[in-house]
């Protein structure tokens, strides 16, 4: 059943408990952008409520308003029936709202404990506050299965653990409503499953949870109700039990979306990438990649699955020429890399390799550049863009326009600052730049991280098209769905090693999940590494 978006009904009005959250007519402008227009929303107490919408639909903005981080231009907010004026996050925290931001609000050099007590120290001196917090956190950890080493430095923790810290932070402040903005974007399936168990435990203890995500399967799996946003407006409120993936996708994007990737069987050609016994040690002396051998042939997609932090990122960086290798050998399109002859990213590109990095903003783009400048990053020495001394601005501009229209980057404005594009569109700029080179080998890391499903569809299609055109693709992703639906062969990494290989068609979530935990199951066509 569909509930009209504009009028959160008084359906629950008969019940005694007021809704945990009620928003009415909330508006928010950012300069010329009307990020939230006349939003209304009702979240029943003690439920898990999903919010979905395309990139830039206004979800994060709305939640930031609810958390008092941004101030709404107009509108009414009630929490557990009490009207609230949210002038600062302190007001929201006081009203029992906790929020886990899309970009974590953690101080990297601090310990977990310090991060948790920041803002809730319980007195002018740290000592007693920290001690009290330690006791309270140990209790919370036990109650909800949120184990963290309280004295670890946060910056050195994996994202999944950092997220637990964020949740602990909110709970420590006594949150009765917990908002999570794209919490699963960077988690492995196992971590996600674990997070959902935490959610259910919290809900059972009366905590209300608002979950923002792009992953519709998660909505179906864990929420009771879901609201859909599009272009700054609420377009629907639904009961999860009464809707379907397809309906949600259509509501979000405003058109029908293909949820499965369609592809033909691969026709692999000659070997393009050959990695032999590669090892890599990071600056702290930890071995990150340990004797990895693999090969990728033209016209196939090889996926690397694994829990984040098991060496996939470092492997990709080494192949791209960003990290030096300590042992082994890389042969790529006729070029060779050994520890004695390291190559930088420029030389690797010259061999015919292109690289879509895992973290586009940190690595793939320069936020302060205009889009046309970001669109030549790594290829800025290409003779096509350069004279003997000066660059050719008109050619760069034309090239950027062409890429933008081919990849439907919105807005199609080559002189807009890169940082002012939404995450999904930034991703498209990077993809366009790398894929339009028609490389012999394409390295892709997390191609759809944080991207809405409309864009996911487009990116997946493009990757398949690349493969069919004879490009060798090495795909690293923590999304098992993505890996399974795109890859012709899947390698699984665990603690820096490749534990096994599965043919894409035969991989099940269970097999992969076990392998990612380091266990190689007997059945299902798994080959041990060479």
């Amino acid at each position: 059943m569909r509930v009209e978006a504009t009028a959160p009904s008084a359906e629950g009005a008969g019940a005694a408990a007021p809704p945990a959250i009620m928003l009415r007519g909330v508006n928010k402008h950012f300069g010329p952008v009307h990020a939230n227009s006349d939003i209304s929303l009702e979240v029943a107490a003690g439920t898990i409520h999903g919010i979905i919408g395309e990139n830039g639909a206004g979800k994060s903005t709305l939640m930031s308003i609810l958390y008092g981080f941004y101030r709404a231009d107009s509108g009414e907010i009630r929490v557990f029936g009490e009207p609230l004026r949210l002038d600062s996050t302190a007001d929201a925290i006081g009203a029992g709202i906790g929020m886990v931001f899309q970009h974590f609000m953690l101080v990297d050099p601090f310990t977990v404990l310090e991060n948790v007590v920041l803002g809730a120290e319980g007195g002018p001196l740290l000592g007693p506050g920290l001690a009290a917090a330690r006791r309270e956190l140990q209790r919370l950890e036990a109650d909800f299965g949120l184990e963290v080493d309280l004295d670890a430095v946060v910056g050195e923790l994996p994202v999944g653990v950092q997220q637990r810290v964020e949740i602990l932070k909110a709970l420590y402040r006594g949150a009765r409503v917990l908002i999570l903005d794209e919490p699963t974007g960077v988690l492995t399936p196992q971590e996600t499953e674990r997070l959902f168990r935490v959610f259910r435990a919290l809900r059972d203890q009366g905590v209300t949870i608002v979950l923002i995500t792009h992953k519709l399967r998660e909505i179906m799996a864990v929420t009771e109700a879901v609201s859909v946003m599009r272009h700054g407006k609420m377009v629907a409120h639904l009961k999860t039990a009464e809707t379907s993936l397809e309906e949600l996708a259509e509501l979000m994007v405003g058109r029908k979306v293909l949820l499965r990737v369609e592809k033909n069987a691969a026709e692999p050609g000659s070997t393009v990438l050959e990695v032999e016994n590669l090892s890599l040690v990071d600056e702290r002396g930890v071995t990150r990649v340990d004797g990895v051998s693999l090969s990728v042939r033209a016209g196939e997609i090889v996926g690397i699955a694994g829990v984040a932090g098991n060496g996939q990122s470092e492997l990709l960086a080494a192949l791209a020429g960003i990290l030096p290798i300590q042992r082994g050998r890389i042969a790529v399109c006729g070029g060779e890399v050994t520890p004695e002859h390291p190559r930088d990213a420029r030389e690797m590109r010259e061999f015919g390799l292109a690289h879509v990095p895992e973290d586009r903003l940190r690595m793939g783009l320069v936020g302060s550049f205009e889009a046309r400048e970001s669109s030549i990053l790594g290829y800025h020495r290409d003779p096509a863009f350069n004279g003997p001394i000066l660059t050719h601005p008109s050619e760069i501009l034309a090239d950027c326009r062409k890429k933008m229209s081919a990849y439907d980057v919105r807005p199609q404005d080559p002189v807009l600052l890169t940082a002012n594009f939404s995450g999904g569109n930034q991703q498209k700029i990077v993809l366009a730049r790398e894929m339009e080179r028609h490389p012999d080998l394409l390295l892709v890391g997390q191609p759809t991280r944080g991207v809405d499903i409309g864009a996911v569809e487009f990116i997946h299609k493009s990757l398949i098209a690349m493969r069919d055109a004879g490009c060798a693709v090495l795909l690293v992703s923590v999304e098992l769905d993505e890996i399974r639906s795109l890859s012709d062969r899947i390698l699984v990494m665990f603690e820096g090693r490749i534990v096994g290989e599965v043919a894409g068609a035969e991989a099940t979530e269970r097999t992969l999940g076990l392998m990612m935990a380091g266990v190689v199951p007997e059945d299902a066509g798994v080959r041990a590494p060479a």
Partner: protein, 324 residues
């Protein structure tokens, strides 16, 4: 032998004197920079405070009133810096440079207007200065070898602000690492959004950090004009604010290493003073300019050779803007 020992102790003694304003100023810079505010204006704050302290001490005859005035002026300048950088998102370096230039002119101008001595304040009599405090028994113990000398020459016989400066180091450490304010201070320089989302005012915190910075710079300035010297003179800070900033970076924005860096600068300075004109064995007399450049050269060498990369507080110099 004994003479050589005495000489080294006296060199260390000089090191303490020279390092005192540097220690205070770099701790001041620590508060500012840990909160995310670049403070190239330490120089100006010290200068303003030195003038105010000397002027008030000269008029009132009280060094303590001078100290209060110096701290007051320094805090005012720190808040001006905060007003520009925190409230109005101004460029931190430009604001610091402006404050340095402004105080260089204003101190002399006001000095001429008040005292008609070309910007100098009248020389302060001992009563209006912080003078040496002799520790009990210093003379009596002087006879004891080594310890007596150390006690009399190194520990005893400084003015109170020297002791204040070196006590300020553990105090700063304690504030920064053991108090709520310190935790928030460190957080706001690293990740202001995190502080904001925890319900703490970023601007409020940074202003408070600037006040701490002002207090310490104020003491440093007062030390220059009412303890180390006996009056204010044009541009009397002579670049010490910049050296203090260098020491802060050298010490990687931590109190104790910053103090050690200041002591190092002071020590190199003291050594350089004593090496001038001395004929070194094998080498002979070295041109005085080389000796004068020695502290700077050695700093560079030490920096390049032994001190790793200094990583600044992550949000330093970035104005905090919530809604772009």
């Amino acid at each position: 032998m004994e003479e050589a020992f005495l000489l080294s102790v006296l060199t260390l003694d000089a090191t303490l004197r020279v390092a005192t304003p540097l220690v205070l100023a770099s701790l001041a810079g620590l508060f500012a920079e840990r909160s995310g505010i670049v403070d190239i204006g330490l120089e100006g704050k010290m200068l303003g405070s030195a003038f105010a302290a000397a002027a008030v001490a000269a008029v009132s005859g009280s060094a303590w009133l001078g100290l209060v005035a110096g701290i007051g002026v320094s805090i005012a300048l720190a808040l001006l810096h905060g007003f520009a950088c925190i409230t109005h998102r101004g460029n931190h370096v430009v604001s610091g440079v402006a404050i340095n230039i402004l105080t260089a002119g204003l101190t002399v101008m006001v000095g001429i207007a008040w005292f008609s001595r070309g910007g100098q304040t009248p020389a302060l009599p001992d009563g209006a200065r912080f003078t040496a405090i002799v520790w009990p028994g210093a003379q009596a113990l002087a006879g004891i070898p080594v310890f007596g000398t150390l006690y009399k020459e190194l520990l005893s016989g400084h003015n109170i602000l020297v002791y204040v400066a070196f006590l300020a180091v553990p105090l700063t450490w304690w504030v920064v690492y053991r108090t709520r304010f310190g935790l928030r201070l460190r957080a706001v320089g690293e990740h202001p959004e995190a502080v904001d989302s925890a319900g703490i005012s970023v601007a409020g915190l940074r202003y408070r950090a600037m006040i701490c910075c002002g207090v310490l710079c104020g003491i440093a300035g007062a030390y220059l004009s009412t303890a180390q010297n006996a009056g204010f003179g044009r541009d009397m800070t002579a670049g010490q604010g910049y050296i203090a900033l260098a020491a802060l970076i050298f010490g990687k924005w931590r109190p104790v290493p910053a103090m050690l860096a200041c002591l190092l600068f002071g020590f190199l300075d003291a050594i350089a003073a004593r090496l001038q004109g001395v004929e070194l064995p094998m080498i002979g007399a070295i041109p005085v300019q080389f000796i004068q450049a020695l502290p700077y050269v050695l700093t560079v060498v030490l920096l390049a050779g032994f001190i790793g990369k200094a990583v600044a507080p992550r949000a330093i110099g970035e104005p905090y803007v919530k809604e772009r």
